[in-house]
C-alpha cells in the first residue's frame, strides 16, 4: 500500500538514528535503554509487514528480557565507556563503505515486496503447506503448525540451544550464593510503596496472560517461546521490586535447573512416544491412530508446553544468576 510508504520511511529513520546514537553514546545505561527503543521500533515494522508472531517475540524478548539482562550486566561493571582518542583509519572506512555498497547493490536484485511473481509465491511447496495445514493439522495459525509440526525437529534443536545457553551461564557464573538482604535494599522498598502495591496487582495478571499466550498459540500469535519469556518477565518484575530473596523463594534455582531439563525431556519424550506408537520420530499422527488431527493437536500442545517450560526456566535462571552475582558482591 502506498499509504504505508511514509510510515515505513519514518520507522526506518527511527531505527537508523537510534543505531547511530547507540554507537556514539558514552553512558552505557542510556545505550541499553536506547537498544530497548530499537526493539520497539523493530516490532512496529514487523507489525506493519504482517509478521505477527515475529513482532510478538520481538516485543517480549527484545524490549523486555534483553534490556533487563543488559542492565544486570552493566550493574556488575563500570558503566561509562572509556573515551578513546579519535583516530582515523582509511582502510577501515574503505572496507565499511565497500561492504555497504555491495550490500545495497545486491539488495537491488531482491524481488519487490509482496509481488506475485516471486519464488515464494510461485513454488508449489507454499501452496501445499498453506492449504493442507488446515486439513492435516486443523489449527488456524499456520506459523504454529509449521513451527511445531512440519518443522518440529528444528524446534527441538532450538529448545536444546536455549537449554545449552542456560547450562553455559550456570557453568560460567557458578552457583549463586544466598544473597544477604542488606538494610539499604529494604529501606528502598518502603520508599517505593506505590510500586510495590501495583506490582503485586500486576504480577498474577502477567502470569495468567503468559498461560493464555501459551495455549492460544494455535489460534492467534503466540506459542511456547513468547509465553515462556512473558512468564519469566512477570517473575523478574516481582524479583526487581521485592528483592532477589523473594524471587528465589518463588523460583528456587534447584527447581529451575530441573525445569529447564524437564522441558527438553517433554519435547523429546513426545518424539519417543510417537516412535513407540509406531510412527516416525515426532510424527504426531501416530499419537491418535484413528484421528490424525487430534493426534496433531495433542502433539503440538505437549511440544509447545515443553518449549514454554524450558524458555521460562532458562530466562529466570539467567536473570537470577546475573542479578544474584551483583547482590553477593
Amino acid at each position: 500500500m502506498t499509504a504505508f510508504h511514509p510510515i515505513n520511511i519514518a520507522l526506518f529513520a527511527i531505527l537508523v538514528i537510534t543505531a547511530l546514537a547507540i554507537a556514539r553514546i558514552r553512558q552505557l545505561f542510556a545505550a541499553a535503554m536506547l537498544s530497548g527503543l530499537f526493539s520497539l521500533a523493530c516490532a512496529c515494522i514487523f507489525v506493519l509487514h504482517d509478521a505477527v508472531d515475529v513482532a510478538f517475540t520481538e516485543a517480549a524478548v527484545g524490549a523486555g528480557m534483553t534490556t533487563v539482562l543488559f542492565l544486570c550486566t552493566l550493574a556488575l561493571t563500570d558503566s561509562r565507556e572509556k573515551s578513546t582518542p579519535p583516530r582515523r583509519s582509511v582502510p577501515a572506512a574503505l572496507a565499511a563503505l565497500l561492504t555497504g555498497a555491495a550490500l545495497i547493490y545486491a539488495s537491488a536484485d531482491l524481488p519487490k515486496f509482496a509481488a506475485a511473481d516471486t519464488p515464494v509465491q510461485q513454488h508449489p511447496l507454499t501452496e501445499r503447506y498453506l492449504r493442507d495445514s488446515a486439513t492435516e493439522i486443523g489449527i488456524p495459525n499456520v506459523v504454529t503448525s509449521v513451527l511445531a509440526s512440519y518443522r518440529g525437529y528444528d524446534t527441538l534443536g532450538e529448545t536444546v540451544v536455549i537449554f545449552t545457553a542456560a547450562i553455559a551461564v550456570l557453568m560460567l557464573l557458578g552457583r549463586t550464593a544466598h544473597a544477604k538482604t542488606s538494610d539499604a535494599v529494604m529501606s528502598l522498598h518502603t520508599r517505593h510503596r506505590v510500586l510495590r502495591v501495583v506490582t503485586k496487582l500486576l504480577v498474577p495478571f502477567i502470569l495468567v496472560f503468559a498461560l493464555y499466550v501459551q495455549f492460544h498459540g494455535d489460534y492467534g500469535p503466540g506459542g511456547g517461546f513468547q509465553a515462556g519469556v512473558i512468564f519469566a518477565s512477570g517473575l523478574i518484575l516481582y524479583g526487581l521490586v521485592f528483592g532477589l530473596e523473594a524471587a528465589r523463594g518463588v523460583a528456587p534455582v534447584r527447581v529451575l535447573r530441573r525445569l529447564v531439563a524437564a522441558g527438553v525431556l517433554i519435547y523429546g519424550g513426545v518424539g519417543v512416544a510417537t516412535l513407540v506408537a509406531g510412527g516416525a520420530f515426532l510424527d504426531y499422527d501416530a499419537l491418535d491412530p484413528g484421528h490424525p488431527a487430534t493426534g496433531q493437536h495433542l502433539g503440538i500442545l505437549l511440544v509447545e508446553l515443553g518449549v514454554g517450560i524450558t524458555v521460562a526456566a532458562a530466562m529466570l535462571m539467567l536473570f537470577l544468576s546475573f542479578a544474584g552475582r551483583r547482590d553477593a558482591r
Binding site: A3, P6, I7, A10, L11, A13, I14, I17, T18, A21, Q27, F29, A30, A32, M33, L34, G36, L37, L40, A41, A43, C44, V47, L48, D50, V52, A55, F56, A59, A60, A63, G64, T67, V68, L71, C72, L74, A75, D78, S79, R80, V185, L188, T199, L202, I206, F209, V213, H216, G220, P221, G222, Q226, I230, S233, I236, L237, L240, V241, A323
Partner: protein, 96 residues
C-alpha cells in the same frame, strides 16, 4: 482518520526519540523511552485496525507490560549517582 492517527503517532515517536537522544540526565532518557513504549502500544493498536487485523492487540498488551518491566528494571539496577543528576558520579558501590 486511522492513517492520520498513525502519522501523528509517528511524529510523536520522533519527538520522544529526540528527547531520548538529547536528555541531559539519564532520567530524561528513561522517561523518553517509557513514553516511546506507550506510543508503540497505541501505534500497534491503531495500525492493527488500519490493516484490519485485530490480533495485533495481543502484541500491544504485551508491550504495555514489558514497557513497565523495563522501566522498573532500569530504576532498580542503575548505580547510585550514575544518573548524572547530583554532580560528579560517585563510586560504583552503591546499593540500589
Amino acid at each position: 482518520m486511522l492513517l492520520a492517527a498513525t502519522l501523528a503517532l509517528l511524529a510523536a515517536m520522533l519527538l520522544a526519540l529526540g528527547r531520548a537522544l538529547l536528555g541531559p540526565t539519564l532520567f530524561d532518557r528513561i522517561l523518553a523511552v517509557n513514553s516511546f513504549g506507550t506510543k508503540t502500544v497505541l501505534f500497534i493498536a491503531v495500525s492493527g485496525f488500519l490493516a484490519g487485523r485485530p490480533h495485533f492487540l495481543d502484541i500491544a498488551l504485551v508491550y504495555a507490560l514489558i514497557n513497565f518491566t523495563g522501566t522498573v528494571a532500569v530504576l532498580k539496577l542503575t548505580h547510585h549517582g550514575e544518573f548524572g543528576a547530583a554532580g560528579a558520579p560517585e563510586q560504583q558501590e552503591g546499593d540500589l
